[in-house]
């Protein structure tokens, strides 16, 4: 194993909730030193030493700094001088109020890179509006078009847009860094999470702008190359849990023939109405009912194994226990690394979804409590003596 890709890069992280922390998690996993600037009373989002909060903030450092205090702002500026990238996900006005906006930071660190990941961007009539993942997903069409089979909106059960905003922010930071190494210049990246999630339904948007088509819910019609069967099929219960499904996609005649053979060449499969892809798509309700007769007799895992053995795309509709415990592939690739708490006990988090031949990103340290790294940040990075640090605590600039 070599060194981590982003070793030597320092990130000052003002982000919170999810989207911003996802961006800085990616940078931290790959070796950047990420220093979180936090309020003493963190938002009540949960335990830092396990679960989601641990997952979001692992590999990062935390300084509990009072940004409402003039000396707190001075310390933040001292840290900017020693950083490469400053990231926030506030609405446009917050960093400006602290005079931590790009123009102000340029005065203390001319080549600083600032990435601001606000909900709506820094310009435009809604730049100061607060946004949340579900709101953005409602505005961009996901909630409306991800419907149940009866047409009722369902949407995501979570904030996909926070994740999308997060990886968009990480990419922007890295591109700006690459550019700075070549030009010597930093810059300001004004990211709109609304736009980040809107951009991810591109072909659908082009169909609207070019063909004037108002999109229909896609349900399980393939959104790529045409396929039938294509959908999720109910399977046999597993340990009393009957919420078991298998996703199947049959895209070619070859896959169809292997599919039919795998399910035992039932008589219905040779009926003329299922002979071509076009006919299978037209008669999909009946096709799906026939297939469910086969899947419902089998455990999703077994049906998947049989179909994959015949090189037919199929996968268990995996729940938390499936992905975190049962999936042999994620396990084999070490996707759920363990990380140690101070008392030596272990907890698991999600891993890094890509491996680099010269040194992959990794999970090295557990998420810090708010202020856990005050001494390191103030002492080692800013060279403050213990006496000076105690003074700052006494003055309410830094929270212990």
């Amino acid at each position: 194993m070599g060194s981590l890709a982003l070793e030597g890069v320092r990130v000052l992280d003002f982000t919170w909730v999810v989207a911003g922390p996802v961006a800085t998690r990616i940078l931290a996993d790959n070796g950047a030193e990420v220093v979180k600037i936090e309020r003493k009373v963190p938002p009540p989002l949960g335990d830092r030493k396990r679960g989601l909060q641990c997952d979001l903030h692992r590999n990062k450092l935390s300084l509990a700094l009072n940004m409402g205090h003039p000396r707190g702002l001075e310390i933040a500026l001292d840290l900017v001088r020693k950083s490469d990238i400053v990231i926030d996900n506030f609405s446009a006005r917050v960093m400006r109020q602290w005079r931590m906006d790009y123009e102000s930071l340029c005065r203390v660190k001319p080549d600083i890179i600032c990435v601001s990941m606000s909900g709506f961007g820094h310009t435009g009539p809604r730049s100061n509006f607060v946004s949340y993942g579900p709101t953005l997903q409602a505005l961009t069409g996901y909630t409306r078009l991800m419907t149940d089979i009866d047409g009722e909106p369902a949407g995501y059960g979570y904030s996909y847009s926070d994740m999308a905003g997060g990886f968009t922010g990480a990419l922007a930071a890295l591109a700006a860094l690459w550019n700075r190494r070549r030009t010597g210049r930093g810059q300001f990246v004004d990211l709109s999470q609304l736009e980040a999630v809107a951009a991810l339904i591109g072909p659908c948007l082009l169909d609207i702008t070019v063909n004037g088509r108002v999109p229909e819910p896609p349900l399980y019609n393939s959104q790529e190359a045409p396929a039938a069967p294509h959908g999720v099929y109910r399977c046999r219960a597993l340990d009393g849990d009957d919420d078991r499904w298998l996703a199947i996609a049959v895209r070619s005649e070859g896959e169809w023939n292997r599919f039919v053979e795998t399910i035992g060449s039932p008589a219905w499969a040779s009926e003329p109405k299922f002979r071509t892809l076009y006919l299978r798509m037209r008669n999909r309700t009946e096709l799906d009912a026939n297939i469910t007769r086969w899947t419902s007799q089998r455990r999703a895992e077994d049906a998947m194994a049989a179909l994959q053995k015949a090189r037919v795309p199929a996968g268990v509709v995996s729940n938390g226990a499936d992905i975190c415990e049962r999936d042999p592939q994620l396990k084999a690739r070490g996707f759920w690394p363990a990380v140690a708490r101070a008392d030596g006990s272990l907890t698991r988090v999600s891993g890094v979804p890509f491996k680099l031949s010269g040194g992959s990103g990794s999970v090295r340290t557990i998420a810090p409590e708010v202020g856990e790294n005050n001494d390191y940040v103030l002492g080692e990075l800013l060279g403050m003596s213990p006496v000076k640090r105690a003074e700052l605590v006494a003055a309410g600039v830094v929270w212990p």
Binding site: A5, R144, R181, P203, T209, Q223, E224, G320
Partner: protein, 402 residues
């Protein structure tokens, strides 16, 4: 290097991928990299996927291909032909990144594996995007986007309890993988500044998609809890969809509670929500079902627009649950110039594309070229980048290698 050339100006990328990887290369192209889409002479398979302009199928009219290949150049090249392979290697010698999404082992079979490319150009970064990565028991398994959303946990948590899970809009397994792919390539390129050697990136689409699910693993490892489907109730329990007279809205109980409840009370619809215990955010989450049932009753006779105008005046973060077409009328997106006009001279028309999710003040994102026609840049690449003579180029065309 000129300021408006893009943050990644000077970077050369060869895109051998199918639509599993197209977006990764496009993200780099959008940021200023010179991306050459290397297509088989018959054209990339994405050119055969709809929708098409005016619903007329044609290899140069696929909106699916257009979206994923904006800002790239197109070279047709038969890399399975020995001479075609040689030409590809010549290009790889001067490239920074190769993006590929073949089945694991396929590049090596064609004599284009990591070992070969690394020997040829030690500074090259190779980004391999595969459904399950380059190792492990599922390495050779088949998957489309839907199967990947299933196996990553992205699918199971959407929809109503006891009913069929609801699939994402758009190919979000591919998109998550593409973003992580572009990020991984940038990490390798930044490491190259230090190490002077390139790296092989092994990206698993299953893992990238799992990393695009917010809460499932956290709940499992943190609370030993298997996240279920909850209809439209967001897992945080602060959001749920409600039906109005003419459509749907998204409730949000994270805004200022006092102003929200005063409003509801003024219409005589607050029921027990006026009780002070609802001021506690934790209590609201805990009793979300009842809370939203009362609020549903309150909004049901509203028109969406009317409700939203009043909500915005009170700074309540409500939203209309609308189709994507509504974004074309969105004044915020318009003010930021999100939709950009792209000229297609071959059709004599201009089309509006969704644009950049980020504005770089020093190196603006912009559309440098519309998506390429099949083989549009073959001639110029053979001549300018590979230095071939006109006679050689003619021979390559005649033999069907380009």
């Amino acid at each position: 290097m000129s300021e408006d050339a893009g943050a990644l100006a000077g970077l050369r990328v060869l895109d051998l991928s199918t639509y599993r990887g197209h977006l990764a290369a496009r993200l780099l192209a959008d940021l200023g990299a010179d991306v050459i889409k290397v297509e088989p002479p018959a054209g990339d398979i994405a050119r055969r996927i709809g929708p098409f302009v005016d619903d007329r199928p044609h290899r140069d009219r696929s909106l699916f291909f257009w979206f994923y290949n904006l800002n790239k150049r197109s070279l047709t090249l038969d890399i399975e032909n020995p001479r075609g392979r040689e030409l590809f290697l010549d290009l790889a010698r001067a490239a920074d990144v190769v993006v590929e999404s073949f089945a694991p082992g396929e590049m090596a079979r064609m004599g284009l594996g990591w070992d070969e490319l690394h020997r040829l150009n030690p500074a090259l970064v190779m980004l391999s995007i595969a459904p399950f990565g380059q190792t492990g028991p599922y390495r050779d398994f088949e998957a489309d986007d839907t199967v990947l959303t299933a196996l990553s946990g992205m699918l199971y948590v959407n929809g109503y309890p006891g009913r069929q899970p609801v699939r994402p809009l758009g190919l979000q397994a591919y998109h998550s993988a593409a973003y992580y792919g572009a990020i991984a390539a940038m990490c390798a390129l930044l490491a190259r500044d230090r190490d002077a050697v390139g790296q092989w990136v092994d990206l698993s689409m299953q893992e990238a998609t799992a990393a695009a699910v917010e809460h499932v693993a956290g709940s499992y490892f943190g609370q030993n809890f298997v996240e279920p489907r909850r209809g439209t109730l967001h897992w945080s329990r602060f959001f749920r969809v409600a039906r109005c007279r003419d459509g749907y809205v998204m409730h949000c109980t994270l805004g200022d509670w006092t102003s929200l409840i005063e409003w509801v009370k003024s219409e005589g619809k607050a029921q027990d929500l006026a009780d002070p215990r609802w001021e506690d955010i934790g209590y609201r989450a805990e009793h979300a079902e009842h809370l939203f049932d009362v609020l549903d009753e309150w909004v049901k006779d509203y028109e969406c627009k009317e409700l939203l105008e009043r909500a915005q005046a009170l700074r309540q973060p409500y939203a209309i649950v609308q189709g994507p077409e509504a974004m074309l009328e969105d004044e915020q997106l318009a003010a930021r110039g999100f939709f950009v006009e792209v000229e297609h001279p071959e059709l004599g028309r201009k089309f509006r594309y969704p644009g950049a999710p980020y504005l770089f003040n020093g190196t603006p994102w912009r559309v440098r070229r519309r998506p390429p026609l099949l083989g549009e840049h073959t001639g110029e690449i053979l001549r300018d980048d590979l230095g071939l003579e006109p006679a050689e180029i003619a021979a390559l065309y005649a033999q069907g290698i380009v």
